[in-house]
Amino acid sequence: MLGRLALAPVFLFIILTTLFVLLRVLPGDPVTAALAGRLSPAQIEERRQASGLDEPIYVQYLDYLTGVVRGDFGNAVTDPRAVTEIVLDLFPATFELTVFAMVLAVTLGVVLGAFGARHRDDPLDVGGRMFGILVYAAPVFWTGILAQLVFANRLNLLPTGNRIGARVPIGDLEITGFYLVDAVLRTNGEFFVDALTHLILPGITLGLVISGVFIRIVRVNMLQTLRADYVESARARGVGDSRVLFRHAFKNALVPVVTIMGLQFALLLGGAILTETTFSWPGLGSALVDFLNRRDYAAVQGIVTFFAVLVVIVSLLIDFVNGLVDPRVRY
């Protein structure tokens, strides 16, 4: 375990250094790139000095690294807020979306995967596998647009985008930024329903994409586990079919799923960027795309740094959980 723990900061260091180098080899500094032509040269110079961009590059690099350690992700150029503030404002939206999607994906994956393994090569199994491949193959933005077309435009059942309707006075109601949680805390039914209806389309769209991978992982693992000696011996002792499946095989087949969840998290973040853009979901992913289009390197660097920290923390957490779930895993 210690080895893994020591690796996490090393990973982070490598990623942050790469990111810094990549974004700083870009022509022009962040302030000039984002604001050239919109402010006078004197104003730009002033902004540059204010952001420490006139310092030597190694000082900037050290400032950046020490900043990250303190939880300071730098300042955006085209936004008055510090990146840390932007992250705090927008991350709950991304988190709510990804958690919803992950829960859906894991549920679908476990149910369809286990079912497929149990009925191996039945038409139902093949159907489940095809479903898994198709939902993975369909680009998330396309599925999202089709879902909007059908459920929002044609059937008029659900809203096309955003997190909350205009009628909900969100400024007064927000506590944690996780709207579903806030609605429960406020015991406000209308708020809850509104937040949920906004979450359903993007959440399902993103969840479906990720579920494809889970279906296949669970199926393959279940198949492997069902071939294991202890499963056979349980069968030989006359243990019933469903009992073997649920009591003996199921838990073991799920161990790798935890690992996959960690890896999927990285995919989920990528998917979230596309989903948020498609559904104009005001999260960190769509903010990142905005900043990219505005050529605000500083904000891009800050947000991507936050994503990197998040990914490394999650992979560390997954390792811990794995150790808890599977006694064979020891570091």
Partner: protein, 347 residues
């Protein structure tokens, strides 16, 4: 397990294919057919597409001639519904959707091939050196590659494209480099691990004891053994690369409009969908889905056939090559294989 003679190994390798039932084989064949259809579209795009990718006027036989003697061109209708003449309809810029899909296939295949060249060109030599040399170089490279590997792939491609935009004119090559950057660690990992086990083989030892320099050993003996695992990684990554390209295109970091790229076409069609013109977004997205499905089916099939062999040959190098791997070790390496593939989304 690892010391079996040739024929039984081959048998072992082919067993999944022979064991697979008709349905499973049919899926692999279907995947191959789908992929081939798109490959044909890509290669013969100019012959198959009725119009150019950004063509909005066409010549009509027997049309009147203008003052300069050139025939008067007919405009392609705007937002025509799918039907005769325009099987998939036309866009608001008067482009024929079907023709753009055909040309888009060329971009997709071009990027897949070129990005693979980029990823292999960097990943394979580094993997060979890392696996063969071992020591500090190996540890450092593994760390760096693992760090890149945990990073969200699409985000990596976006940043690569964003940075490249300042140096290269946006187009197929820069999109391919951005997509390729994502897959370097995968080639690196597999080649490195494979090299680790191959370098224990008697023929490598023999070459070494005969005094062959490392470059000869790597180039002549190790490389050709290790390179066998490349096609498997390729088929698994290809599907993913198409999706990554589409994602980049959708966000505006792929190839520039009016070049035909499916992800880009979907993003430009968002406003159409809102006003009820479904076909401009539907067909390019369907093309992505079909091609990715086809490639996935092929990759999955190939993986089934080749992987048991790969797994036996020692996955991490932690298992001493000469020892019979314990059941425990094999199990764990299997799991790790699965998590590896899970990253590409293909198992």
């Amino acid at each position: 397990m690892s010391r079996k003679a040739g024929p039984s190994r081959l048998e072992h390798a082919l067993r999944p294919w022979r064991r697979a039932n008709r349905m499973a084989r049919w899926l692999v064949i279907a995947g191959t057919v789908i992929t081939l259809v798109f490959a044909v579209l890509a290669v013969f795009a100019d012959q198959i597409a009725p119009y150019g990718q950004d063509q909005y006027r066409y010549e009509v036989a027997g049309a009147p001639v203008d003052d300069d003697g050139d025939p008067v061109l007919e405009s392609i209708p705007r937002r025509a519904e799918p039907g005769a003449g325009f099987p998939f309809g036309t866009t608001s810029a008067r482009f024929d959707v079907f023709s753009r899909i055909v040309h888009g296939a060329r971009v997709a295949f071009g990027v897949v091939v070129l990005s693979t060249v980029v990823a292999m060109g960097i990943g394979v030599p580094l993997g060979l050196i890392s696996g063969y040399r071992g020591g500090r170089v190996d540890r450092l490279l593994v760390l760096v590659m693992d760090a890149v590997y945990v990073f969200p792939p699409l985000l990596l491609a976006i940043i690569a494209a964003f940075v490249l935009k300042e140096y290269l004119d946006p187009g197929l090559p820069s999109a391919a480099v951005a997509v390729g950057a994502v897959y370097i660690p995968q080639y690196f990992r597999v080649i490195r691990n494979h090299t680790l086990s191959v370098k224990q083989e008697p023929f490598v030892e023999a070459a070494r004891s005969l005094g062959a320099p490392p470059r000869t050993i790597l180039g002549r003996y190790v490389f050709f053994n290790v390179v066998q695992s490349v096609p498997v990684i390729f088929t698994l990554n290809a599907a993913d690369a198409v999706l990554t390209l589409a994602g980049l295109g959708f966000l505006g970091y792929g190839v520039p409009y009016p070049q035909a790229e499916w992800g880009l076409d979907v993003s430009r069609a968002i406003s159409d969908v809102v006003s009820g013109f479904w076909w401009t977004a539907f067909f390019p997205g369907l093309a992505i889905t079909l091609l990715v499905t086809g490639l996935t089916l092929v990759g999955e099939g190939l993986n089934d056939i080749v992987n048991p062999l790969l797994r036996v040959r020692g996955y991490t190098g932690k298992v001493p090559a000469r020892k019979e791997p314990t059941a425990e070790a094999t199990r764990e390496s299997d799991d790790e294989d699965i998590t590896d593939l899970a990253k590409t989304g293909v198992v």
